[in-house]
């Protein structure tokens, strides 16, 4: 403490930096998510990183095609849209769905690892077409089920099926 007095400029400078940073962060936090260049850039960067990660997770390219993955491919289904549709139709009220924060229901089975299951609700084979049909009208296939007909459109059902098949295909 006997040293020469530090120039207060350092102090004021750092304080000013903190102020500026807080102001920028505050302004950014106010931006509407759909009109937010920084957020969009971050999201895009995240998506690219996701791509790299999944590419890395696939491991070395094998000679033979991944039949399992191909079997679970839902034509026309978009997993990202499917995830949002899950929230929209209220699936989470009854099921735990990994990746959907609000889906914590315990009425029905957890949908974790759905891709590995042999049957859907014990009545349909676990294949893309059956899953999509099941989602559109469960009571048709299982009259005693508690799962109601949610009025899911075919497109939405395909999206949701695509998302559900991302849950635990390899584990």
């Amino acid at each position: 403490m006997q040293g020469k007095p530090v120039v207060p400029l350092t102090l004021a400078g750092v304080a000013a930096l903190v102020l500026v940073a807080i102001t920028l962060v505050s302004v950014w936090s106010l931006a509407h998510p759909q009109r937010d260049p920084v957020g969009n850039a971050l999201a895009a960067m995240g998506a690219r990183l996701d791509g790299v990660r999944s590419w890395y997770a696939q491991g070395p390219v094998e000679a033979s095609p991944d039949w399992q993955a191909m079997r679970l491919n839902v034509p026309g289904g978009d997993a990202a849209r499917g995830r949002l549709a899950m929230v929209e139709y209220g699936c989470g009220a009854c099921h735990v769905i990994p990746g959907v924060a609000s889906a914590r229901g315990t009425v029905g089975p957890s949908l974790d690892g759905l891709a590995r299951r042999a049957y859907i609700a014990g009545v349909l084979t676990n294949a893309p077409g059956d899953l999509t049909r099941w989602l559109m009208n469960p009571p048709l296939f299982s009259p005693e089920t508690a799962m109601p007909n949610l009025g899911v459109t075919e497109a939405d059902a395909a999206d949701m099926a695509a998302y559900l098949y991302t849950l635990g295909p390899d584990a």
Partner: protein, 831 residues
Amino acid sequence: MIDATADRPRQGPVLEELRTYEEAWATPPGWRRLSSVSHRVVGQRFIVTGLVFFLIAGFLALLVRTQLIVPENTFLDAETYNQVFTMHGTLMMFLFAIPILEGFGVYLLPLMLGARDLVFPRLGAFGYWCYLFGGLIVLASFVFDAAPDGGWFMYTPLSTKEFTPGLSADFWLIGITFAEIASVTAAVELIAAILCTRAPGMSLTKMPIFAWYMLVTAFMITVGFPPLIVGSILLEVERLIGLPFFDPALGGDPLLWQHLFWLFGHPEVYIIFLPAAGMVATMLPTFVGKPLFGYGYAVAAVVTMGFISFGLWAHHMFATGLPTITLTLFSAASTIVTIPTGVQIFCFILTLAQKRPRLTVPMHFILGFLFIFVIGGLTGVMLAAVPFNWQAHDSYFVVAHLHYVLIGGMVFPLIGAFYYWTPHFTGRMMSERLGKWAFWLMFSGFHITFFLMHITGLRGMPRRISTYPAGIGWDRLNLLSTIGSYILAAGVVVFVWDFIAHRWRGPLAPRNPWKAGTLEWLYPPIAPGHNFHAIPRVHSREPLWDQPDLLENEAHETRGLLRDAPHGRRETVGCHPLSGEPLQIVRLPHPTWIPLLTAFAVAVSFSAVLASLYDIAAAGAVAALFGFAAWAWEPSETGQTITTNDEGTLPVDVASRLGHTHIAIIGTLMIMVALFASVLFAVMFLWNVQPEFTRLAGDPDLFWTSIAVACGLGMSLVAWLARSAPMAVLDLAVALLAGVAGWALYQAVLPTDPMATALAATLWVMAGFIGTQQFVLLYWSLFLALRKVSGQVAAGQIVPEINRVPYALVTAGMLIAAAVVLAAPQLEVLK
């Protein structure tokens, strides 16, 4: 007057020869250190325990922030989350902020004022154990899976048995009330110490500024805590036996709790802020090298702040539907507090202006304090505007505001104070480098966490929610706040690491390492365990600056009063409360286990209430009463005189209005009056707000009421007579009259049914409170009589008698006030 050589047990000439100064003041080694009552030991206990609670509460805060990092998080369930934020607030407010600041006061004040110890060391030790046991009771709720979950202000009716079954609220109410005993006892002790044991020549206007801040704080505690204690007791009684204080169906009012709580809660904020501001006012002049600018202005500001803080509680209740016409007036009143705050801030700024300061770590924290606290003050002024308050109240804006005020106003100065005074505790310096890291991490983390919360709140996020929907505008703000909280926590970790590691890594501290002007730096900071071989005379507020010889001589060769320990006893100089001139020699106790045992008995009693084991609770209370008696049984030495080296002859433990015991009684009576006023407020509030319940529960008996008043007056009269004619029979008469008065009061309220209406229930509480007062007088008088009969005291030793008079008078005054209240509903003239 008795000659000093008169035969008295336990201080014969044999002891005088045997003990040197060091022996008389030695702290017992090993586990027997627990019996120490020295202010240094007790102060350090307070500080370290407070720091532990701070870390626990800080950890809980991180859990809160982690839960909120993303929307709809499942890290904690709602129940755990509610427990975590409740305990965070509770621990921070009740078990960290006030105790640790009182700990600094307990440790530093005698050193700054030129005393060898506080005047009531055993009371300080007792207070610490109450605090520790109370804190443990609160913490134990986690073990029993019954952590309180009603928020730190425990609003009724959510906290009543109907909506919070189980023990969680009881843990809170009982633990916190117990811990508050520590706060009020420490307050009385500090008042007496500041007013009665200062170095010769230290008039009130020459006190170190920290003493002024602590004095005002202590007075505020004596008046500010009682409303909460009363509120807690009412709520606990409602929970235990169902008296309907807060039930509107029976004439109660949930808002009564809010009034009592904020009557405490608002001053509480200033009770936390003022000691920390006092630390700033002490450290700042050291680094500037000039005295505090505008000392008188600062004192005036602090005293006014103490007064103002009690008139502002309504602004916590703007949204409860207060009458519109008064909202503006309350709003104006709330802003007034800015003026004394502004005066203090400008005193600090002008102190800075006198000379280029040294930019040490404590100085960083002082600047951080100015920066943060000014923002917190300004948002506080915004909150005083009623329309804005309606938007911001109970939203994250308020969370931001209160953390700006409390962290900026208290935590930053406190950590600066740790860097400043740690050399005094340990003899080693903390690291300048780590200190700056800690500061910048805390400073930037703090702003990221809490500045954004202003926006979060105005964007509609209420406080105390464990989950929020995604996508409506709070996601990013919460994410950033959580990141900021981790940075803030990293800063705290650096500080704690430094605080621990400096014990072996820190360089040895030189004498007066910061070149301060206040007396606590007189000794080289290798803690000797005792203060002042002799108590020097001071001539200014900065004795070490104006009397360079104090630092040039070896500390143990300081010239002054009471050189060494001439009687082998612990003694210090008692002064005139105003002028600071020596008035008496105060005999201080040696290490003893009684405070610990008594506090333990009280703890058993409180815990047994919690467990509904009322016979054990009663046994604990009786054991505590024996503890207090054993504590006070020691022979009185009043009336002896001692010839000192340069101040002539001084009496021991004077019996006068200027003596320390009398000042302490005045402090205690302030607490009692504040408790009574809180009960009275409850009675009159309910009577006024729910008038239709006035006559539903039966009328008090006016005959017995007048008997009670007559006995109360008689009791005061006899107590007054007993002061000059100390005879055991008079004490017995006081005891008898006190007992009869209490019993008559019971008869007076008996016709009313406390279960029927809240008003009747509060009348019973009022009678119960006065009954307790009467019991204290009865117990006290029997104790005195017993001592006289057993020959423990001689004529002329009238200290307890002279102190009993104001106690009896105030009790009689309460009886009269109670009688008016009991009679009022029956006097047609009043309604």
